[in-house]
Amino acid sequence: MATRTVVLPGMTEGKALIPVRPRRVTSTRAISNGVLVVLGVLFITPLLWLIFASIDSNAGPTVRFPNLTFGNFTAAATSVNMQALLNSLYISAIATVVSTVPAALMAYVFSRRHIPWKGPLLLFILMLAGVPVSILVVPLYQVFADHNWLSLLPASIFLGVTSMPFEIWIIKNFIDAVPNDLDEAARLEQATTMQIMMRVVLPLALPGIAAAAIFGFINAWGNFLVPLVLISSSGQQPSPVAIFGFFGGNVIRYGQIAAYSIMYSLPVVILYVGMSRAFRGGFVLGGAVRG
Protein backbone atom coordinates (compact mmCIF):
# COMPACT_ATOMS: atom_id res chain seq x y z
CA MET A 1 0.00 0.00 0.00
CA ALA A 2 1.28 3.48 -0.80
CA THR A 3 2.25 5.57 2.19
CA ARG A 4 3.21 9.11 2.90
CA THR A 5 5.04 10.71 5.78
CA VAL A 6 3.32 13.23 7.93
CA VAL A 7 3.73 14.94 11.27
CA LEU A 8 0.83 14.04 13.52
CA PRO A 9 -0.41 16.50 16.14
CA GLY A 10 1.21 15.80 19.47
CA MET A 11 4.43 14.51 17.98
CA THR A 12 7.51 16.27 19.23
CA GLU A 13 9.99 14.66 16.90
CA GLY A 14 10.12 12.43 13.89
CA LYS A 15 7.46 11.69 11.32
CA ALA A 16 4.82 8.98 10.96
CA LEU A 17 3.86 6.81 8.00
CA ILE A 18 0.17 6.77 7.15
CA PRO A 19 -1.45 4.91 4.27
CA VAL A 20 -2.70 6.85 1.29
CA ARG A 21 -6.20 5.89 0.18
CA PRO A 22 -6.94 6.94 -3.40
CA ARG A 23 -10.20 8.87 -3.85
CA ARG A 24 -12.94 6.72 -5.27
CA VAL A 25 -14.13 7.52 -8.73
CA THR A 26 -17.87 7.83 -8.27
CA SER A 27 -20.38 8.75 -10.93
CA THR A 28 -21.12 11.98 -9.06
CA ARG A 29 -17.51 13.01 -9.22
CA ALA A 30 -17.19 12.05 -12.86
CA ILE A 31 -20.30 14.00 -13.84
CA SER A 32 -19.23 17.02 -11.78
CA ASN A 33 -15.83 17.18 -13.33
CA GLY A 34 -17.33 16.63 -16.77
CA VAL A 35 -19.84 19.43 -16.35
CA LEU A 36 -17.16 21.77 -15.12
CA VAL A 37 -14.87 21.01 -18.03
CA VAL A 38 -17.64 21.51 -20.60
CA LEU A 39 -18.74 24.79 -19.02
CA GLY A 40 -15.13 25.79 -18.72
CA VAL A 41 -14.59 25.35 -22.45
CA LEU A 42 -17.71 27.41 -23.17
CA PHE A 43 -16.57 30.16 -20.89
CA ILE A 44 -12.99 30.33 -22.00
CA THR A 45 -13.60 30.51 -25.76
CA PRO A 46 -14.32 34.25 -25.94
CA LEU A 47 -11.42 34.94 -23.60
CA LEU A 48 -9.11 32.82 -25.73
CA TRP A 49 -10.07 34.93 -28.71
CA LEU A 50 -9.23 38.06 -26.79
CA ILE A 51 -5.80 36.85 -25.81
CA PHE A 52 -4.93 35.29 -29.16
CA ALA A 53 -6.20 38.22 -31.21
CA SER A 54 -4.12 40.66 -29.21
CA ILE A 55 -0.89 38.87 -30.10
CA ASP A 56 -1.91 38.01 -33.64
CA SER A 57 -0.74 40.15 -36.50
CA ASN A 58 -3.58 38.96 -38.75
CA ALA A 59 -6.33 38.96 -36.20
CA GLY A 60 -9.84 38.25 -37.31
CA PRO A 61 -12.97 37.57 -35.36
CA THR A 62 -12.29 33.82 -35.08
CA VAL A 63 -10.06 32.04 -32.64
CA ARG A 64 -7.01 31.02 -34.60
CA PHE A 65 -3.48 30.25 -33.82
CA PRO A 66 -1.77 33.60 -33.79
CA ASN A 67 1.16 34.92 -35.81
CA LEU A 68 2.91 36.03 -32.68
CA THR A 69 3.59 39.69 -32.45
CA PHE A 70 3.44 42.49 -29.95
CA GLY A 71 2.75 44.93 -32.73
CA ASN A 72 -0.89 45.24 -31.79
CA PHE A 73 -0.02 46.56 -28.39
CA THR A 74 2.36 49.17 -29.72
CA ALA A 75 -0.06 50.14 -32.47
CA ALA A 76 -2.90 50.48 -29.99
CA ALA A 77 -0.85 52.70 -27.72
CA THR A 78 -1.45 55.84 -29.72
CA SER A 79 -1.55 59.16 -27.99
CA VAL A 80 -5.31 59.37 -28.47
CA ASN A 81 -5.85 55.98 -26.89
CA MET A 82 -3.48 56.65 -24.04
CA GLN A 83 -5.26 59.92 -23.42
CA ALA A 84 -8.48 57.95 -23.24
CA LEU A 85 -6.97 55.62 -20.65
CA LEU A 86 -5.79 58.64 -18.70
CA ASN A 87 -9.29 60.11 -18.90
CA SER A 88 -10.66 56.85 -17.57
CA LEU A 89 -8.23 57.15 -14.67
CA TYR A 90 -9.24 60.74 -13.93
CA ILE A 91 -12.93 59.96 -14.12
CA SER A 92 -12.68 56.90 -11.92
CA ALA A 93 -10.44 58.58 -9.35
CA ILE A 94 -12.72 61.61 -9.03
CA ALA A 95 -15.80 59.41 -8.89
CA THR A 96 -14.24 57.24 -6.19
CA VAL A 97 -13.38 60.18 -3.95
CA VAL A 98 -16.77 61.83 -4.50
CA SER A 99 -18.60 58.64 -3.61
CA THR A 100 -16.49 57.13 -0.83
CA VAL A 101 -15.80 60.09 1.45
CA PRO A 102 -19.43 61.24 1.90
CA ALA A 103 -20.51 57.60 2.04
CA ALA A 104 -18.11 56.85 4.89
CA LEU A 105 -19.30 59.88 6.86
CA MET A 106 -22.94 59.01 6.33
CA ALA A 107 -22.33 55.35 7.13
CA TYR A 108 -20.70 56.35 10.41
CA VAL A 109 -23.78 58.32 11.42
CA PHE A 110 -26.13 55.56 10.33
CA SER A 111 -24.18 53.02 12.30
CA ARG A 112 -23.41 54.93 15.47
CA ARG A 113 -26.00 57.65 15.89
CA HIS A 114 -29.72 57.91 16.08
CA ILE A 115 -31.60 59.21 13.09
CA PRO A 116 -35.36 59.44 12.88
CA TRP A 117 -36.74 56.78 10.53
CA LYS A 118 -33.35 55.18 10.21
CA GLY A 119 -34.73 51.81 9.12
CA PRO A 120 -36.88 53.03 6.24
CA LEU A 121 -34.14 55.45 5.21
CA LEU A 122 -31.64 52.63 4.96
CA LEU A 123 -34.02 50.58 2.88
CA PHE A 124 -34.62 53.56 0.66
CA ILE A 125 -30.91 54.04 0.13
CA LEU A 126 -30.51 50.39 -0.75
CA MET A 127 -33.36 50.68 -3.23
CA LEU A 128 -31.60 53.61 -4.86
CA ALA A 129 -28.76 51.23 -5.61
CA GLY A 130 -31.09 49.34 -7.91
CA VAL A 131 -32.10 52.30 -10.08
CA PRO A 132 -30.67 51.87 -13.57
CA VAL A 133 -28.33 54.73 -14.31
CA SER A 134 -29.32 54.86 -17.96
CA ILE A 135 -32.52 56.67 -17.14
CA LEU A 136 -30.76 59.43 -15.28
CA VAL A 137 -28.73 60.59 -18.26
CA VAL A 138 -31.69 61.97 -20.19
CA PRO A 139 -32.74 64.68 -17.72
CA LEU A 140 -29.16 65.21 -16.62
CA TYR A 141 -28.11 65.90 -20.20
CA GLN A 142 -30.64 68.67 -20.44
CA VAL A 143 -29.59 70.26 -17.16
CA PHE A 144 -25.87 69.92 -17.85
CA ALA A 145 -26.27 71.29 -21.36
CA ASP A 146 -28.06 74.36 -20.04
CA HIS A 147 -25.20 75.13 -17.67
CA ASN A 148 -22.40 74.22 -20.03
CA TRP A 149 -21.34 71.33 -17.82
CA LEU A 150 -20.94 68.68 -20.50
CA SER A 151 -17.36 67.90 -19.55
CA LEU A 152 -15.27 65.47 -17.56
CA LEU A 153 -15.55 66.86 -14.05
CA PRO A 154 -19.34 67.09 -13.71
CA ALA A 155 -19.74 63.70 -15.37
CA SER A 156 -17.25 62.17 -12.93
CA ILE A 157 -19.04 63.67 -9.96
CA PHE A 158 -22.30 62.24 -11.22
CA LEU A 159 -20.70 58.83 -11.71
CA GLY A 160 -19.52 58.97 -8.13
CA VAL A 161 -23.02 59.74 -6.90
CA THR A 162 -24.43 56.70 -8.69
CA SER A 163 -22.15 54.40 -6.70
CA MET A 164 -22.88 56.12 -3.41
CA PRO A 165 -25.97 54.21 -2.21
CA PHE A 166 -24.34 50.80 -2.38
CA GLU A 167 -21.11 52.14 -0.87
CA ILE A 168 -23.03 53.56 2.07
CA TRP A 169 -24.51 50.13 2.59
CA ILE A 170 -21.15 48.34 2.43
CA ILE A 171 -19.36 50.77 4.74
CA LYS A 172 -22.19 50.85 7.22
CA ASN A 173 -22.08 47.07 7.56
CA PHE A 174 -18.35 47.23 8.18
CA ILE A 175 -18.67 49.96 10.79
CA ASP A 176 -21.38 47.92 12.49
CA ALA A 177 -18.78 45.21 12.98
CA VAL A 178 -16.55 47.53 14.99
CA PRO A 179 -17.65 47.11 18.64
CA ASN A 180 -19.28 50.05 20.33
CA ASP A 181 -17.09 49.45 23.36
CA LEU A 182 -14.19 51.02 21.53
CA ASP A 183 -16.20 54.19 20.95
CA GLU A 184 -17.15 54.32 24.60
CA ALA A 185 -13.58 53.77 25.72
CA ALA A 186 -12.45 56.63 23.54
CA ARG A 187 -15.28 58.80 24.81
CA LEU A 188 -14.12 58.12 28.35
CA GLU A 189 -10.75 59.49 27.30
CA GLN A 190 -12.60 62.68 26.33
CA ALA A 191 -12.24 62.20 22.61
CA THR A 192 -14.38 64.36 20.36
CA THR A 193 -16.60 62.81 17.74
CA MET A 194 -14.13 63.70 15.02
CA GLN A 195 -11.33 62.02 16.93
CA ILE A 196 -13.35 58.90 17.59
CA MET A 197 -14.30 58.68 13.98
CA MET A 198 -10.91 59.38 12.47
CA ARG A 199 -8.70 57.62 15.02
CA VAL A 200 -10.77 54.67 16.18
CA VAL A 201 -13.67 53.63 14.03
CA LEU A 202 -12.65 54.45 10.47
CA PRO A 203 -9.18 52.92 10.69
CA LEU A 204 -10.74 49.68 11.90
CA ALA A 205 -13.33 49.78 9.16
CA LEU A 206 -10.65 50.50 6.55
CA PRO A 207 -10.96 47.14 4.73
CA GLY A 208 -14.64 47.84 4.20
CA ILE A 209 -14.00 51.39 3.09
CA ALA A 210 -11.32 50.15 0.73
CA ALA A 211 -13.71 47.55 -0.68
CA ALA A 212 -16.38 50.20 -1.19
CA ALA A 213 -13.88 52.52 -2.85
CA ILE A 214 -12.75 49.77 -5.19
CA PHE A 215 -16.38 49.04 -6.03
CA GLY A 216 -16.93 52.70 -6.89
CA PHE A 217 -13.76 52.79 -8.97
CA ILE A 218 -14.70 49.69 -10.95
CA ASN A 219 -18.18 51.07 -11.53
CA ALA A 220 -16.84 54.31 -12.90
CA TRP A 221 -14.09 52.65 -14.93
CA GLY A 222 -16.51 50.37 -16.72
CA ASN A 223 -19.26 52.91 -17.34
CA PHE A 224 -19.96 53.60 -21.00
CA LEU A 225 -23.24 55.47 -21.24
CA VAL A 226 -22.54 58.34 -18.87
CA PRO A 227 -19.36 59.56 -20.55
CA LEU A 228 -20.91 58.94 -23.96
CA VAL A 229 -23.79 61.27 -23.22
CA LEU A 230 -22.47 63.72 -20.68
CA ILE A 231 -19.06 64.51 -22.14
CA SER A 232 -19.23 66.44 -25.36
CA SER A 233 -15.57 66.81 -26.29
CA SER A 234 -13.98 63.68 -27.72
CA GLY A 235 -10.63 64.56 -26.20
CA GLN A 236 -12.08 64.02 -22.76
CA GLN A 237 -13.70 60.69 -23.50
CA PRO A 238 -12.58 57.63 -21.58
CA SER A 239 -11.57 54.24 -22.94
CA PRO A 240 -14.99 52.60 -23.37
CA VAL A 241 -16.05 55.33 -25.75
CA ALA A 242 -12.71 55.08 -27.54
CA ILE A 243 -13.18 51.34 -28.01
CA PHE A 244 -16.66 51.99 -29.33
CA GLY A 245 -15.10 54.39 -31.80
CA PHE A 246 -12.91 51.62 -33.20
CA PHE A 247 -15.99 49.89 -34.53
CA GLY A 248 -17.02 52.80 -36.64
CA GLY A 249 -14.35 52.57 -39.29
CA ASN A 250 -14.45 50.58 -42.49
CA VAL A 251 -11.76 48.20 -41.39
CA ILE A 252 -12.10 46.76 -37.92
CA ARG A 253 -8.62 46.04 -36.66
CA TYR A 254 -9.47 43.24 -34.29
CA GLY A 255 -5.92 42.76 -33.13
CA GLN A 256 -5.54 46.31 -31.94
CA ILE A 257 -8.98 46.40 -30.36
CA ALA A 258 -8.17 43.21 -28.48
CA ALA A 259 -4.82 44.54 -27.32
CA TYR A 260 -6.32 47.83 -26.15
CA SER A 261 -9.17 46.04 -24.39
CA ILE A 262 -6.71 43.93 -22.45
CA MET A 263 -4.82 47.06 -21.41
CA TYR A 264 -8.12 48.58 -20.34
CA SER A 265 -9.51 45.54 -18.53
CA LEU A 266 -6.42 44.50 -16.61
CA PRO A 267 -6.65 47.16 -13.84
CA VAL A 268 -10.19 46.10 -13.07
CA VAL A 269 -9.29 42.43 -12.69
CA ILE A 270 -6.41 43.35 -10.39
CA LEU A 271 -8.67 45.59 -8.33
CA TYR A 272 -11.33 42.92 -7.98
CA VAL A 273 -8.73 40.56 -6.52
CA GLY A 274 -7.72 43.31 -4.12
CA MET A 275 -11.33 43.90 -3.12
CA SER A 276 -11.93 40.25 -2.33
CA ARG A 277 -8.78 40.23 -0.19
CA ALA A 278 -10.08 43.26 1.69
CA PHE A 279 -13.43 41.60 2.28
CA ARG A 280 -11.87 38.43 3.55
CA GLY A 281 -9.53 40.22 5.90
CA GLY A 282 -12.19 42.62 7.03
CA PHE A 283 -13.60 41.01 10.08
CA VAL A 284 -10.49 40.56 12.15
CA LEU A 285 -10.29 43.24 14.79
CA GLY A 286 -7.19 41.92 16.47
CA GLY A 287 -8.87 41.06 19.72
CA ALA A 288 -9.51 44.67 20.63
CA VAL A 289 -12.43 43.74 22.82
CA ARG A 290 -12.28 41.07 25.49
CA GLY A 291 -15.05 38.58 26.06
Binding site: S32, N33, V35, L36, V37, L39, G40, F43, T45, P46, L47, W49, A53, P61, T62, V63, V101, P102, L105, M106, Y108, V109, R113, H114, L126, M127, A129, G130, V131, P132, S134, I135, L136, V137, V138, P139, L140, Y141, Q142, V143, F158, V161, M164, P165, T193, G222, F224, L225, V229, P240, I243, F247, Y254, I257, S261, Y264, S265, V268, V269, Y272
Partner: protein, 309 residues
Protein backbone atom coordinates in the same frame (compact mmCIF):
# COMPACT_ATOMS: atom_id res chain seq x y z
CA UNK B 1 -35.80 57.36 40.40
CA UNK B 2 -37.78 58.75 37.48
CA UNK B 3 -37.08 62.13 36.05
CA UNK B 4 -38.92 64.99 37.58
CA UNK B 5 -39.54 63.54 40.99
CA UNK B 6 -37.51 64.91 43.77
CA UNK B 7 -38.25 63.90 47.30
CA UNK B 8 -37.31 66.95 49.21
CA UNK B 9 -36.35 65.14 52.40
CA UNK B 10 -33.98 62.66 50.78
CA UNK B 11 -32.18 64.81 48.24
CA UNK B 12 -30.11 67.83 49.04
CA UNK B 13 -31.07 71.06 47.25
CA UNK B 14 -27.90 70.96 45.17
CA UNK B 15 -28.97 67.82 43.36
CA UNK B 16 -32.23 69.09 41.89
CA UNK B 17 -32.85 67.52 38.48
CA UNK B 18 -32.46 70.25 35.90
CA UNK B 19 -35.35 70.91 33.59
CA UNK B 20 -34.84 70.30 29.90
CA UNK B 21 -34.25 67.34 27.60
CA UNK B 22 -34.66 63.75 28.65
CA UNK B 23 -31.32 62.03 28.95
CA UNK B 24 -32.60 58.47 28.97
CA UNK B 25 -33.58 58.07 25.33
CA UNK B 26 -31.38 58.08 22.26
CA UNK B 27 -31.80 61.39 20.48
CA UNK B 28 -30.74 62.86 17.20
CA UNK B 29 -27.54 64.78 17.78
CA UNK B 30 -26.94 68.06 16.01
CA UNK B 31 -23.33 67.12 15.41
CA UNK B 32 -24.52 64.43 13.02
CA UNK B 33 -25.70 67.01 10.54
CA UNK B 34 -22.37 68.09 9.05
CA UNK B 35 -21.47 64.43 8.63
CA UNK B 36 -24.68 63.69 6.79
CA UNK B 37 -24.68 66.81 4.70
CA UNK B 38 -22.26 65.99 1.84
CA UNK B 39 -23.87 62.67 1.00
CA UNK B 40 -27.38 64.04 1.34
CA UNK B 41 -26.75 67.05 -0.86
CA UNK B 42 -25.05 64.96 -3.55
CA UNK B 43 -27.74 62.31 -3.53
CA UNK B 44 -30.60 64.79 -3.62
CA UNK B 45 -29.14 67.04 -6.30
CA UNK B 46 -27.56 64.46 -8.59
CA UNK B 47 -29.67 61.38 -8.01
CA UNK B 48 -33.15 62.16 -6.75
CA UNK B 49 -33.22 65.43 -8.66
CA UNK B 50 -32.70 63.79 -12.06
CA UNK B 51 -35.28 61.14 -11.24
CA UNK B 52 -37.81 63.86 -10.46
CA UNK B 53 -36.80 65.80 -13.56
CA UNK B 54 -37.13 62.66 -15.62
CA UNK B 55 -40.73 62.38 -14.53
CA UNK B 56 -41.33 66.03 -15.29
CA UNK B 57 -39.68 66.02 -18.71
CA UNK B 58 -41.59 62.90 -19.62
CA UNK B 59 -44.75 64.94 -19.80
CA UNK B 60 -43.39 67.83 -21.83
CA UNK B 61 -42.49 68.20 -25.47
CA UNK B 62 -38.78 68.69 -24.91
CA UNK B 63 -36.61 67.85 -27.89
CA UNK B 64 -32.85 67.73 -28.29
CA UNK B 65 -32.74 70.22 -31.14
CA UNK B 66 -35.25 72.47 -32.72
CA UNK B 67 -37.66 75.05 -31.35
CA UNK B 68 -38.82 72.97 -28.42
CA UNK B 69 -35.26 72.49 -27.21
CA UNK B 70 -35.41 75.79 -25.41
CA UNK B 71 -39.11 76.60 -25.27
CA UNK B 72 -40.68 73.39 -24.17
CA UNK B 73 -44.02 73.16 -22.50
CA UNK B 74 -45.92 70.82 -20.36
CA UNK B 75 -48.03 68.71 -22.66
CA UNK B 76 -49.95 66.57 -20.26
CA UNK B 77 -50.68 63.04 -21.31
CA UNK B 78 -49.66 63.39 -24.97
CA UNK B 79 -46.46 61.43 -24.55
CA UNK B 80 -48.17 58.91 -22.35
CA UNK B 81 -50.83 58.23 -24.95
CA UNK B 82 -48.14 57.90 -27.55
CA UNK B 83 -46.30 55.41 -25.38
CA UNK B 84 -49.35 53.30 -24.72
CA UNK B 85 -50.16 53.03 -28.40
CA UNK B 86 -46.53 52.58 -29.46
CA UNK B 87 -45.99 49.03 -30.72
CA UNK B 88 -42.24 49.34 -30.29
CA UNK B 89 -42.70 50.20 -26.63
CA UNK B 90 -44.76 47.07 -26.12
CA UNK B 91 -42.15 45.05 -27.95
CA UNK B 92 -39.44 46.69 -25.87
CA UNK B 93 -41.20 45.73 -22.66
CA UNK B 94 -41.54 42.17 -23.84
CA UNK B 95 -37.92 41.99 -24.99
CA UNK B 96 -36.71 43.44 -21.70
CA UNK B 97 -38.68 40.88 -19.74
CA UNK B 98 -37.39 38.10 -21.97
CA UNK B 99 -33.84 39.35 -21.66
CA UNK B 100 -33.93 39.80 -17.91
CA UNK B 101 -35.75 36.59 -17.10
CA UNK B 102 -34.12 34.44 -19.75
CA UNK B 103 -30.52 35.45 -19.55
CA UNK B 104 -30.40 36.86 -16.04
CA UNK B 105 -32.71 34.80 -13.93
CA UNK B 106 -32.69 31.46 -15.66
CA UNK B 107 -29.36 31.70 -17.44
CA UNK B 108 -26.99 33.29 -14.98
CA UNK B 109 -28.58 31.88 -11.83
CA UNK B 110 -28.93 28.43 -13.34
CA UNK B 111 -25.41 28.22 -14.64
CA UNK B 112 -24.03 29.71 -11.44
CA UNK B 113 -25.89 27.09 -9.43
CA UNK B 114 -24.69 24.30 -11.72
CA UNK B 115 -21.13 25.49 -11.39
CA UNK B 116 -21.28 25.80 -7.61
CA UNK B 117 -22.81 22.35 -7.15
CA UNK B 118 -20.41 20.72 -9.58
CA UNK B 119 -17.51 22.38 -7.82
CA UNK B 120 -18.42 20.65 -4.60
CA UNK B 121 -17.50 17.19 -5.78
CA UNK B 122 -14.77 17.79 -8.32
CA UNK B 123 -11.00 17.66 -8.38
CA UNK B 124 -9.34 20.59 -6.69
CA UNK B 125 -7.44 21.50 -9.84
CA UNK B 126 -10.57 21.63 -11.96
CA UNK B 127 -12.45 23.54 -9.30
CA UNK B 128 -9.83 26.21 -8.88
CA UNK B 129 -9.16 26.66 -12.58
CA UNK B 130 -12.76 26.80 -13.76
CA UNK B 131 -13.78 28.89 -10.76
CA UNK B 132 -11.10 31.47 -11.46
CA UNK B 133 -12.00 31.48 -15.15
CA UNK B 134 -15.69 32.14 -14.61
CA UNK B 135 -14.97 34.85 -12.08
CA UNK B 136 -12.58 36.58 -14.48
CA UNK B 137 -15.39 36.66 -17.03
CA UNK B 138 -17.49 38.44 -14.44
CA UNK B 139 -14.77 40.95 -13.69
CA UNK B 140 -14.40 42.16 -17.27
CA UNK B 141 -15.82 45.61 -17.93
CA UNK B 142 -19.04 45.62 -19.98
CA UNK B 143 -17.47 47.04 -23.10
CA UNK B 144 -14.91 44.24 -23.19
CA UNK B 145 -17.67 41.67 -22.81
CA UNK B 146 -19.63 43.31 -25.60
CA UNK B 147 -16.63 43.51 -27.90
CA UNK B 148 -15.55 39.93 -27.33
CA UNK B 149 -19.03 38.59 -27.98
CA UNK B 150 -19.45 40.82 -31.01
CA UNK B 151 -16.33 39.31 -32.47
CA UNK B 152 -17.48 35.82 -31.61
CA UNK B 153 -20.86 36.13 -33.29
CA UNK B 154 -20.40 38.43 -36.21
CA UNK B 155 -19.62 37.30 -39.73
CA UNK B 156 -16.45 35.26 -39.57
CA UNK B 157 -16.53 34.98 -35.81
CA UNK B 158 -15.81 31.94 -33.69
CA UNK B 159 -19.37 30.87 -33.08
CA UNK B 160 -20.37 31.53 -36.65
CA UNK B 161 -17.54 29.45 -38.00
CA UNK B 162 -18.12 26.59 -35.57
CA UNK B 163 -21.87 26.32 -35.83
CA UNK B 164 -22.76 27.91 -39.12
CA UNK B 165 -20.90 29.07 -42.14
CA UNK B 166 -18.22 31.74 -42.07
CA UNK B 167 -20.33 34.10 -44.09
CA UNK B 168 -23.47 34.04 -41.98
CA UNK B 169 -23.89 36.67 -39.36
CA UNK B 170 -25.28 35.15 -36.18
CA UNK B 171 -25.68 38.57 -34.72
CA UNK B 172 -28.11 39.25 -37.51
CA UNK B 173 -30.03 35.99 -37.29
CA UNK B 174 -30.17 35.30 -33.55
CA UNK B 175 -29.59 38.67 -31.93
CA UNK B 176 -31.60 38.11 -28.78
CA UNK B 177 -29.99 34.77 -28.06
CA UNK B 178 -26.53 36.22 -28.44
CA UNK B 179 -26.98 39.30 -26.28
CA UNK B 180 -28.61 37.03 -23.73
CA UNK B 181 -25.64 34.67 -23.88
CA UNK B 182 -23.23 37.58 -23.44
CA UNK B 183 -25.17 38.80 -20.40
CA UNK B 184 -25.27 35.33 -18.86
CA UNK B 185 -21.56 34.84 -19.54
CA UNK B 186 -20.73 38.02 -17.67
CA UNK B 187 -23.03 37.45 -14.68
CA UNK B 188 -22.66 33.72 -14.04
CA UNK B 189 -19.47 34.26 -12.07
CA UNK B 190 -21.25 36.35 -9.46
CA UNK B 191 -24.04 33.81 -9.09
CA UNK B 192 -21.46 31.08 -8.70
CA UNK B 193 -19.68 32.97 -5.91
CA UNK B 194 -22.93 33.57 -4.05
CA UNK B 195 -23.99 29.94 -4.31
CA UNK B 196 -20.56 28.63 -3.37
CA UNK B 197 -20.66 30.71 -0.19
CA UNK B 198 -24.15 29.48 0.61
CA UNK B 199 -23.19 25.86 -0.01
CA UNK B 200 -20.28 26.22 2.40
CA UNK B 201 -22.77 27.27 5.04
CA UNK B 202 -24.79 24.08 4.80
CA UNK B 203 -23.91 22.12 7.93
CA UNK B 204 -22.00 18.94 7.21
CA UNK B 205 -24.11 16.97 9.67
CA UNK B 206 -27.24 17.37 7.58
CA UNK B 207 -25.55 16.06 4.45
CA UNK B 208 -23.82 13.25 6.33
CA UNK B 209 -27.01 12.07 7.97
CA UNK B 210 -28.62 11.91 4.55
CA UNK B 211 -25.71 9.87 3.27
CA UNK B 212 -26.12 7.51 6.22
CA UNK B 213 -29.74 7.06 5.29
CA UNK B 214 -28.42 5.96 1.88
CA UNK B 215 -29.93 8.81 -0.03
CA UNK B 216 -28.71 9.05 -3.58
CA UNK B 217 -26.97 12.15 -4.82
CA UNK B 218 -30.07 13.22 -6.72
CA UNK B 219 -32.23 12.79 -3.64
CA UNK B 220 -29.73 14.67 -1.52
CA UNK B 221 -29.77 17.53 -4.01
CA UNK B 222 -33.51 17.92 -4.35
CA UNK B 223 -34.56 17.15 -0.80
CA UNK B 224 -31.79 18.80 1.20
CA UNK B 225 -29.51 21.11 -0.75
CA UNK B 226 -32.11 22.89 -2.83
CA UNK B 227 -34.51 23.76 0.00
CA UNK B 228 -31.62 25.05 2.10
CA UNK B 229 -30.50 27.17 -0.83
CA UNK B 230 -33.91 28.75 -1.39
CA UNK B 231 -33.12 32.09 0.28
CA UNK B 232 -29.87 32.39 -1.66
CA UNK B 233 -31.62 31.51 -4.89
CA UNK B 234 -34.15 34.24 -4.24
CA UNK B 235 -31.61 36.95 -3.51
CA UNK B 236 -29.43 35.88 -6.41
CA UNK B 237 -32.38 35.95 -8.80
CA UNK B 238 -33.33 39.44 -7.75
CA UNK B 239 -29.73 40.63 -7.97
CA UNK B 240 -29.36 39.18 -11.47
CA UNK B 241 -32.62 40.86 -12.44
CA UNK B 242 -31.40 44.27 -11.31
CA UNK B 243 -28.03 43.85 -12.98
CA UNK B 244 -29.61 42.72 -16.24
CA UNK B 245 -32.13 45.57 -16.20
CA UNK B 246 -29.31 48.06 -15.89
CA UNK B 247 -27.55 46.58 -18.90
CA UNK B 248 -27.14 49.13 -21.64
CA UNK B 249 -23.61 48.73 -22.88
CA UNK B 250 -23.65 45.09 -23.94
CA UNK B 251 -26.80 45.31 -26.00
CA UNK B 252 -26.04 48.72 -27.47
CA UNK B 253 -22.53 47.80 -28.56
CA UNK B 254 -23.46 44.42 -29.97
CA UNK B 255 -26.62 45.26 -31.84
CA UNK B 256 -27.65 48.86 -31.10
CA UNK B 257 -31.13 47.49 -30.57
CA UNK B 258 -31.27 45.90 -33.99
CA UNK B 259 -31.47 44.49 -36.45
CA UNK B 260 -34.50 46.71 -36.77
CA UNK B 261 -35.95 46.56 -33.31
CA UNK B 262 -35.26 42.95 -32.45
CA UNK B 263 -33.16 43.61 -29.40
CA UNK B 264 -34.58 46.98 -28.42
CA UNK B 265 -34.62 46.54 -24.67
CA UNK B 266 -35.89 49.47 -22.63
CA UNK B 267 -32.58 51.21 -21.83
CA UNK B 268 -31.53 51.09 -25.48
CA UNK B 269 -34.95 52.28 -26.64
CA UNK B 270 -34.84 55.19 -24.23
CA UNK B 271 -31.38 56.19 -25.46
CA UNK B 272 -32.37 55.87 -29.09
CA UNK B 273 -35.48 57.99 -28.72
CA UNK B 274 -33.72 60.66 -26.69
CA UNK B 275 -30.38 61.00 -28.41
CA UNK B 276 -30.78 59.58 -31.88
CA UNK B 277 -34.28 60.72 -32.69
CA UNK B 278 -33.97 63.82 -30.49
CA UNK B 279 -37.18 63.16 -28.57
CA UNK B 280 -35.77 63.87 -25.13
CA UNK B 281 -39.22 63.96 -23.54
CA UNK B 282 -40.33 60.62 -24.91
CA UNK B 283 -37.00 59.06 -23.99
CA UNK B 284 -37.47 60.38 -20.46
CA UNK B 285 -40.90 58.80 -20.27
CA UNK B 286 -39.54 55.43 -21.32
CA UNK B 287 -36.91 55.88 -18.65
CA UNK B 288 -39.66 56.52 -16.12
CA UNK B 289 -41.25 53.21 -16.99
CA UNK B 290 -37.88 51.58 -16.36
CA UNK B 291 -37.52 53.29 -13.00
CA UNK B 292 -40.88 52.00 -11.89
CA UNK B 293 -39.99 48.49 -13.02
CA UNK B 294 -36.62 48.63 -11.27
CA UNK B 295 -38.16 50.07 -8.11
CA UNK B 296 -40.59 47.19 -7.85
CA UNK B 297 -37.78 44.66 -8.24
CA UNK B 298 -35.53 46.60 -5.84
CA UNK B 299 -38.31 46.69 -3.30
CA UNK B 300 -38.69 42.93 -3.40
CA UNK B 301 -34.93 42.44 -3.21
CA UNK B 302 -34.68 44.54 -0.10
CA UNK B 303 -37.64 42.87 1.51
CA UNK B 304 -36.24 39.43 0.85
CA UNK B 305 -32.70 40.25 2.05
CA UNK B 306 -34.01 41.80 5.24
CA UNK B 307 -36.29 38.90 5.97
CA UNK B 308 -33.41 36.51 5.69
CA UNK B 309 -31.31 38.15 8.40
Amino acid sequence: MTEGTVTGSLVSPGLAIPAGRRQDRVRFQRSSIPLLLPATILLVVLFLGPVAYSFYYGFTNLELIGPTATHYQFTGLTNFNQMVSDPIFGQSLYLTAFFVVGSGVIGATGIGLMLAIAMQSSLAVVRILIGALVVVCFMLPPITVAMVWYAASTAGGTLTTLFGSPSSDFLHSFPMVLVGAANTWSLAGLAMLLFAAALRNIPREVVESAELESATAVQRFFRITLPLLKPTILTTVLLMTLLSLANFTIVYIMTAGGPGTETMILPVYSYQQAFQFNHLAYGALIGDAMVLLATVVSFFYVRVSRARV
